[in-house]
């Protein structure tokens, strides 16, 4: 009992170092970016207060990933939630940031309650809070308790990771925080939940039951689909990025779920490979989502709005931000030379290899369907980011602010630049990065990876079980560059006739204004109709008539019903408030009743005295 806090120490094993690297990689550019972002956004003292909070936030996150002792982990975890609450509620004047911060802190707190329950069960059956001793005595935990601990930790960390049924806070909280903070939150904070799952479920408790992995895979797949479908429907650019974080968290958890499945099925190579895919997508997502949020921040700073319907034509006035956003969008939709493509390819390969090694036919089909879901989300993500980039950056500006937008200052561009360079280099040198990741995965799943090979040389990835399968993003990039420059050269050398600049084709009789462009709602209309079984789109059109014959204007209103909010959270909340309202009658104000309560208490206690 008194071993509770005798050895508070921090452990720096490969897993923690990897996550520290992820934190460093995203927070450095964010801090550089913040220098410019806060210049005339907030008053001096508030900017200093925000910087202090940001540094505290980074310190608490690194505390979480390096805590070697359950209580220290818990304290760092709650500190992280507390500080991020202050960051989300930073612009406290706006109504939404109050709502967002309340929902955020409530859901993370409920998640932490589950984590505390899981830790307590661990402490009860392993006798100490130190992770080393717990890992040593973990096999002794009886079967049903292990499942209970797994479920508690899954719900606890799932709430923070934003897995679908528990994702409600993410689209509210991330857009409200200042942009470099939401890039930190999306890039790193939700990853600490993945760290929690890896550290406690895979590393400490150890995986030997397959249905654990099944649950994670199902939730991850659902998160992927729901995340990307909602991302398509949303008009607020930062909300779109928040929903796409849910989708990418789904992809990461697919990788980790597969790793757990292969550990249960005793396939060491596949387990290591899919964990490597998960971790690689984790760092990729941290980098390009951080980049995208920083770009969204610069757009917000110069256009003062986050609604895509009011942006447009920003590529002409903000070329750097547009280029960086394009790079991020390409990476997140998994286009070849960049890092998103490599991690999605590895995830797909993990599914394919699983199918080869799987013995029962049903399992093979499930792997196939998993791969199909992953590909489906990849396709939809591409559509979502074409919309995001196309509507907000291309064509004519739709509002006065968009017209008068100016490029952001150097430090912000520097922040974005660093992340952009990282996105490209992570893609090109993928094979080079997979080697250390394999060592980390081996350490976590405690599998010897000396005889496993993941890449032919520093540039070509090749999974062992697949005969003759190679992927070299560098070579692909080269081939694309070769053909592209070939076409460009042939374009220019043949007596280049000057291209005449004229207005867009307007069927010849009226000149085009920004109203003729496709809007974000218009762009995602086909998806809204295709997924109407899930989105329940609502649409109301109205003709405003001056007289029986002349229609003055036409109003069109559409929105989709947030399924989880409407059919899961609101009934739950209503139930709680109704019962609380029912209890209100206990205190009607009459003193006679109050004395009656005392008398009743005495009688009841005396009658039931035997039971105590």
């Amino acid at each position: 009992m008194n071993k509770i806090i005798n050895n508070i120490h921090f452990l720096f094993d490969p897993l923690s170092l990897f996550f520290l690297a992820v934190i460093a990689v995203v927070s450095l550019p964010a801090l550089i970016y913040a220098a410019g972002y806060l210049k005339n956004q907030f008053s001096r003292p508030r900017a200093r207060y925000l910087n202090i909070l940001t540094v505290l936030f980074i310190v608490s996150m690194s505390g979480v990933v390096t805590a070697g002792h359950l209580l220290v982990f818990l304290v760092a975890w709650e500190l992280m939630s507390l500080i991020s609450f202050f960051l989300v509620a930073f612009e406290y004047e706006h109504e939404q940031s109050i709502k967002a911060s309340t929902i955020y802190i409530v859901m993370t707190h409920i998640g932490t309650a589950f984590i505390i329950a899981g830790f307590m069960l661990l402490y009860k059956y392993c006798g100490s809070f130190d992770m080393g001793t717990i890992r040593a005595s973990a096999p002794a935990i009886p079967g049903n308790i292990r499942d209970l601990i797994f479920l508690f930790l899954l719900i606890g960390f799932g709430t923070k990771a934003g897995i679908v049924p528990l994702h409600l806070w993410l689209p509210y909280a991330h857009p409200q925080a200042p942009s470099h903070i939401s890039s930190l939150m999306s890039g790193v904070m939700i990853k600490t939940a993945v760290y929690g799952i890896i550290r406690f479920v895979i590393y400490i408790i150890g995986v030997d039951t397959a249905w654990w992995a099944g649950i994670i895979l199902v939730f991850a797949a659902v998160s992927c689909l729901v995340g990307v479908i909602y991302a398509l429907m949303v008009q607020d650019i930062k909300k779109l990025l928040a929903y796409s974080s849910i989708e990418n968290m789904g992809i990461i958890l697919l990788g980790i779920g597969l790793a757990m499945l292969f550990m249960a099925l005793k396939q060491p190579y596949l387990a290591v490979f899919s964990l490597v895919a998960g971790l690689f997508h984790l760092i990729n997502h941290a980098v390009f989502k951080g980049l995208l949020f920083l770009c969204a921040g610069s757009v917000y700073k110069s256009v003062k709005t986050r609604d895509m319907e009011k942006m447009g034509g920003l590529i002409k006035v903000m070329p750097w931000t547009a280029a960086f956003f394009l790079l991020g969008a390409m990476a997140i939709s998994g286009l070849p030379p960049l890092n998103g493509f490599v991690s999605e390819w590895m995830a797909l390969q993990a599914f394919f290899m699983g199918a080869i090694k799987a013995d029962s036919g049903m399992l093979k089909l499930l792997f196939g369907l998993g791969a199909a879901v992953l590909a489906f989300t990849g396709g939809l993500a591409a559509a979502c980011f074409v919309k995001a980039f196309g509507i907000s950056f291309l064509a004519l500006p739709r509002s006065r602010q968009a017209q008068e937008a100016k490029e952001v200052c150097l430090s912000m561009r520097l922040g974005m630049g660093i992340l952009a360079v990282l996105t490209v280099s992570l893609g090109i040198f993928a094979a080079f990065i997979v080697k250390p990741l394999a060592k980390i995965a081996g350490h976590v799943c405690s599998i010897d990876i000396s005889d496993m090979s993941f890449s032919v040389n520093n540039f070509i990835l090749s999974p062992q079980p697949m005969k003759g399968v190679y992927l070299s993003p560098a070579l692909l990039g080269l081939v694309l560059l070769l053909f592209g420059s070939g076409a460009a050269v042939s374009y220019f050398i043949f007596g280049r006739s000057k291209a005449r600049v004229y207005k867009t084709w307007d069927c010849g009789y009226y000149n085009m204004t920004s109203r003729n462009e496709y809007s974000a709602t218009g762009f995602s209309k086909p998806f809204q109709v295709a997924f109407s079984f899930f989105l329940f789109p609502y649409r109301r059109t109205q003709k405003i008539r001056e007289s029986a014959y002349h229609v003055k204007s036409f109003s069109y209103e559409t929105h989709t019903i947030p399924v989880f909010k409407r059919y899961l959270y609101e009934p739950l909340l209503g139930l709680i408030v109704k019962t609380a309202g029912f209890m209100r009658r206990i205190q009607p104000g009459s003193i006679h009743l109050y004395i009656g309560y005392i008398m009743l208490a005495v009688f009841l206690l005396i009658i039931f005295m035997r039971k105590f």
Partner: protein
């Protein structure tokens, strides 16, 4: 001899539950205090210790003379209409009184070991009086009835204290008497304030603070 006085105390308790007017309630309280004084006197004579004499004397001065006069002065001063505002009519109150006695009897069988029959009767009497006090506070409308109810409960407990062989340590008795006196004075101060501010002393109407 003591059992007769204890039975008398129980009957006076029923009397109080049946009281409709404040004045009759106060006079019944005065009677009950007097019976209690007699009971303590007998107890003091039986054990022949001087402390009990002083306690009995104090009881007489306080509970028979001083407190009822304060209460009577309040009733006259407030000039509020006499009746107590019963939630429960008299017949039902008496039946409930009998119920209280029966419960107290079962309860004291549970508490007191077999070899102390007299103690069981004393315990029953004190519980009955305490429950009667509580009943008056719950089922009577007026604020004054709540003050008197408190004092009746106090009487019940004092009866229990006196009937224990040793009784309570002397200075604790004194402290409790002083305490009862102060609480009566403070309650009267508040009844005056309620009457001044609310122009009625109907506890039932004091229900603004809800939820």
């Amino acid at each position: 001899m003591e059992t007769v006085i204890i039975l008398a105390i129980i009957i006076v308790a029923y009397l109080m539950m049946a009281a409709k007017r404040i004045a009759s309630l106060v006079s019944a309280f005065r009677l009950q205090s007097f019976l209690l004084f007699v009971y303590t006197l007998i107890e003091a004579i039986k054990q022949r210790n001087t402390e009990l004499y002083i306690v009995a004397l104090l009881l007489f001065v306080l509970k028979v003379v001083l407190i009822p006069s304060i209460l009577a002065k309040i009733v006259r001063k407030i000039k509020v209409n006499e009746n107590l505002g019963l939630f429960v009519n008299v017949q039902l109150s008496l039946i409930i009184g009998l119920g209280f006695t029966y419960c107290s009897w079962i309860f004291s069988r549970m508490v007191v070991p077999q070899q102390e029959p007299f103690m069981a009767i004393a315990l029953t009497a004190s519980f009955t009086v305490t429950l009667a006090g509580m009943f008056i506070m719950i089922f009577r409308m007026k604020a004054l009835s709540q003050t008197v109810g408190l004092l009746v409960m106090e009487n019940g407990i004092f009866l229990l204290g006196a009937s224990i062989a040793g009784g309570m340590p002397f200075f604790v008795e004194i402290a409790i008497f002083m305490d009862v006196l102060i609480s009566v004075i403070i309650l009267n101060v508040f009844v005056h304030r309620i009457n001044k501010l609310f122009t009625h002393i109907d506890a039932g109407k004091l229900n603004q603070l809800k939820g």
